[in-house]
């Protein structure tokens, strides 16, 4: 398939490209210059440039929007909200049947859900609240939903939170990895974050119950705060890394090598 990726130079983009580059024709776009050594097709493009996104989307089968901007109020709206608007206008103009968007879990399961409830699943009504990142991403998702209802465009939303290096379980937090702390909401290895995008691109339409489906992306975790059953069942996504060292205090130095279990 021909896949247009918006915001592809961020943290997640390279892992999505790695998962898909040998299987699909990718046009990678980003507001920044390409990473050194990137040899694929590349276009410098801001995700909120409606006309530019429409032009870039011509001839594409799928659009994947991985653009993210968190702290700056103007830019957060431009990228997180208007970026999805641009994507949906482009999908409508070119009759592109599938778009994939991404964001944090709390664009759906906002503070009230997270503080009060368990077994949170991606089919709940969104309640993002007013935190800038969650709110702007939720508005973007709502725009996708409206376009999907009106035009039948298949929207798949992938919701992440912490993303970790598989080798030492460090992420974007300063000071290196922290083990054995509260691991809610959830963490996912970068490689598996990328393969979730691949799974969303490739899932047969008949496996999707509606034209607008959302998934929490994380491996099996013991806290049961969130539920990841849907992504495994529907997308067939199977994470290779379980980030167990983050939460299992016996993971690195099991007493008696666990012989007492027998």
């Amino acid at each position: 398939m021909k896949v247009l990726i918006l915001g592809g130079n961020g943290m997640l983009g390279p892992w999505a490209v790695k998962a898909m580059k040998s299987r699909h024709d990718i046009l990678l776009t980003d507001i920044n210059e390409p990473r050194p050594g990137y040899a694929g097709d590349y276009l410098k493009l801001s995700a909120d440039d409606v006309d530019g996104v429409v032009d870039a989307a011509e001839g594409m089968d799928v659009i994947v929007n991985l653009s993210v901007l968190r702290p700056h109020r103007q830019l957060a709206f431009d990228v997180n909200t208007m970026g999805n608007y641009a994507m949906m206008v482009a999908a409508r103009e070119h009759r592109i049947n599938r778009v994939i968007t991404s964001g944090p879990h709390y664009q759906m399961a906002g503070q009230q859900y997270e503080e009060w409830d368990f077994d949170l699943n991606p089919d709940m009504p969104p309640a993002p609240g007013t935190r800038l990142y969650a709110h702007t991403k939720a508005l973007g998702q709502e725009i996708c939903r409206v376009f999907s209802e009106r035009h039948g465009i298949q929207v798949i939303t992938l919701l992440y939170y912490n993303m970790k290096h598989s080798w030492d379980l460090s992420g974007m937090e300063p000071g290196g990895p922290e083990y054995h702390q509260d691991m809610t909401p959830y963490s996912t290895a970068w490689q598996d974050c990328g393969t979730a995008v691949q799974a969303a691109v490739e899932v047969p339409a008949e496996r999707l119950a509606t034209r607008c489906e959302t998934f929490f992306v994380f491996p099996d975790l013991p806290h049961r705060k969130f539920n990841n059953e849907k992504i495994k069942r529907v997308l067939g996504w199977s994470p290779r890394y379980h980030v167990e060292g983050l939460w299992n205090k016996e993971f690195r130095t099991p007493p008696s090598n666990l012989h007492e279990a027998f």
Binding site: G110, P128, T130, H135
Partner: protein, 225 residues
């Protein structure tokens, strides 16, 4: 009461401002490219200028539908980012109530025989950017109310204003619009997020207005046929 009215150049804002003038202290605002004499030019950015705009304001009447004209990108940006900035500034300043003027056209694709109430999900168009903008403005408002930062009254008005044709089954009079805003400013029956549907009592009336009659009791007589 000290009131701020947004998109003051729009016909809806003028109608409301004319009806409220003399009864309240009005502060009118619109974007710099639109603002005329007597209207404060404000971009509704996230800078201190927006904080100053809402200082000492007790309630805001926000034109959330057909308040702005321009490109689709402008309409979408206004009804998302600038609404967020306004609501954030208002909640920081302790503004008590935010009256969002929306539209019953968010249900216009429903057949007329359906008894649509405030508990029905809206069905906005993706093609009509004004309607999509109205929907997005409602979304932003609702999240501020959900977080208990400000009380929002979402007034969905019928259409057209002051219609006179017999097939205009959702019409609303100018007088009723002003009265609904006035009642919304003072009612103590309202939830933190309160949708209210309002149209004139006409033959084959399209939308049910019993919520308005109950929560805005000063309107009950006008809403009864």
């Amino acid at each position: 009461m000290n009131l701020l009215i947004t998109s003051a150049v729009s016909d809806t804002a003028k109608l409301i401002a004319n009806g409220l003038s003399g009864k309240h202290n009005l502060r009118l605002t619109d974007l710099p490219e639109s603002a005329t004499a007597g209207i404060l030019a404000n971009k509704l950015d996230h800078e201190a200028e927006t904080d100053r705009l809402v200082a000492d304001i007790e309630a805001i009447v926000n034109i959330g539908f057909q308040g702005q004209t321009g490109s689709a990108t402008h309409i979408m940006d206004y009804h998302t980012r600038r609404m967020y900035n306004l609501l954030q500034a208002a909640s920081d300043a302790g503004v008590r109530r935010f009256i969002n003027i929306s539209t019953l056209r968010l249900f216009e694709d429903h057949e007329e025989n359906l008894a649509v109430t405030e508990r029905w999900r809206t069905d906005p168009s993706a093609e009509d950017t004004e309607l999509l903008g109205a929907h997005m403005a409602e979304y932003v408002c609702k999240e501020f109310a959900r977080d208990r930062l400000i009380q929002v009254v979402n007034l969905r008005l019928g259409w057209p204003f002051d219609g006179s044709e017999s097939d205009e089954t959702a019409t609303i009079s100018s007088e009723l619009i002003v009265a609904a805003v006035e009642e919304s400013l003072v009612s103590d029956e309202l939830a933190e997020w309160q949708d209210i549907h309002i149209q004139s009592a006409v033959e084959n009336q399209r939308f049910i207005t019993s919520t308005a009659a109950k929560l805005l009791p000063g309107l009950a007589e006008r809403l009864a046929r």
